[in-house]
């Protein structure tokens, strides 16, 4: 496997030290890392889950809108960040690996390196409720 860009390497190192759930994808949307607070949130560690193609990611961690209806792919913050290279945020429901549903503030930020290189995206997840309290 080719070496990750250093921006992604450094981002992974930073994320590993944060107490905020963070996951990182490459420019194609494939999952390359998530940190321990994310693991607690979704019920599986990165060591168990491993890197994941984008298609498997959306199958394994199902997202719904707050009312429970399917969330169109183009409305997902991560997809917006990857395709439009702009930040996006939305309250969502996510099904954890253990089958439970959680309400999360899902914030995705594109990772754009020097020279406008689109390198991937970072997702911050924040456990909340429907009133965002």
């Amino acid at each position: 496997m080719a070496q990750h860009p250093i921006e992604i390497i450094l981002l992974q190192q930073w994320a590993s030290m944060m107490n905020v759930p963070i996951w990182i994808t490459d420019a194609t949307g494939d999952l390359v890392y998530f940190n321990e607070p994310t693991a607690e949130l979704i019920g599986v560690s990165f060591e168990e889950a491993g890197e994941m193609p984008a298609a498997d990611l959306s199958e394994r961690f199902v997202l719904r809108d707050l009312d429970g209806s399917p969330l169109p792919e183009l409305d997902r913050p991560l997809v917006i960040a990857l395709q439009k290279q702009e930040p996006a945020q939305r309250l969502i429901r996510m099904r954890s690996d253990d089958g439970t549903w959680k309400v999360l503030a899902d914030t995705a930020i594109p990772i754009v390196g020097e020279g406008n290189r689109h390198l991937g995206a970072m997702v911050l997840l924040w456990a909340t409720d429907e009133n965002h309290t």
Partner: protein, 244 residues
């Protein structure tokens, strides 16, 4: 540091205080000089103002170096080559051409060159220089351990792709392990990290570089007594000549 090709083509690697010594060597000066800058910290550019070819209208001087997110190389270099830091402005130099370097490949004469960003504060590249089947990689300022849990998988190691299986690796060798503890994030390697990196990428040999100014020659001699290195370790020193 100079790299001289089989046909006499010349590359100069960085432009620190030692660059002025090249003035007497380049006599006569070739019509073209290419200087590859890894980054613009003062210890890597301070020699430019004292490099005679920059002031010679008969010599084409190409300065290759990394850009920042908002400034090209010309703008970045001009912060040094302009008053009050230097009396001569970059724009007044007769035949000097700053060339922006971004990750990727380019050719200078017989040399195929690859540049890639490496971990060091500010935009910093390493260079891989290939002529025919022989290769040299130059990473004078590099802190691969800042990527976490070093050494780790190649895909998570800064500089891995650039240096993989290189014949000669010139690499940052600044700190002892004890010194590194309080200097994490400064952008430099400890000596064991440099050796580990060189072994991980499969380099043919490691030339140690960027010695700490507080390490005298006796200290450096002692620190180079390395047990069981996975490859030949050559102490870098002024005047060293290597055939790649």
């Amino acid at each position: 540091m100079e790299v001289i090709g089989a046909d006499g083509s010349l590359l100069v690697l960085d432009a620190g205080s030692g660059l002025a010594r090249l003035n007497s060597v380049l006599n006569p000066c070739p019509p073209r000089v290419d200087v590859l800058l890894t980054h613009l910290h003062m210890d890597h550019v301070q020699g430019l103002g004292f490099f005679q070819p920059l002031f010679d209208p008969e010599v084409e001087v190409n300065l290759w170096g990394p850009v920042s997110s908002t400034m090209n190389l010309t703008e970045r270099l001009a912060r040094y080559l302009s008053p009050p830091l230097f009396p001569v402005r970059l724009r007044d130099l007769p035949s000097v051409h700053p060339i922006d370097v971004r990750p990727g490949n380019f050719t200078i004469g017989p040399f195929d060159i690859t540049a890639d960003l490496v971990i060091h504060p500010g935009p910093t590249v390493g260079y891989r220089i290939q002529e025919g089947s022989r290769s040299l990689a130059y990473l004078p300022d590099h802190e691969p351990a800042l990527g976490g849990n070093f050494p780790r998988e190649p895909e998570w190691t800064s500089g891995y792709d650039l240096c993989r299986n290189v014949d000669v690796l010139i690499h940052d060798f600044q700190y002892t392990p004890d010194e590194y503890v309080s200097r994490q994030g400064w952008g430099h390697s400890s000596m064991p990290q440099a050796v580990a990196f060189a072994g991980q990428v499969g380099a043919g040999s490691l030339v140690t570089f960027h010695h700490d100014p507080d390490h005298d020659d006796a200290t450096l001699d002692r620190l180079h007594e390395i047990d069981q290195a996975p490859l030949p370790v050559i102490p870098g020193r002024a005047g060293l000549i290597l055939e790649v």
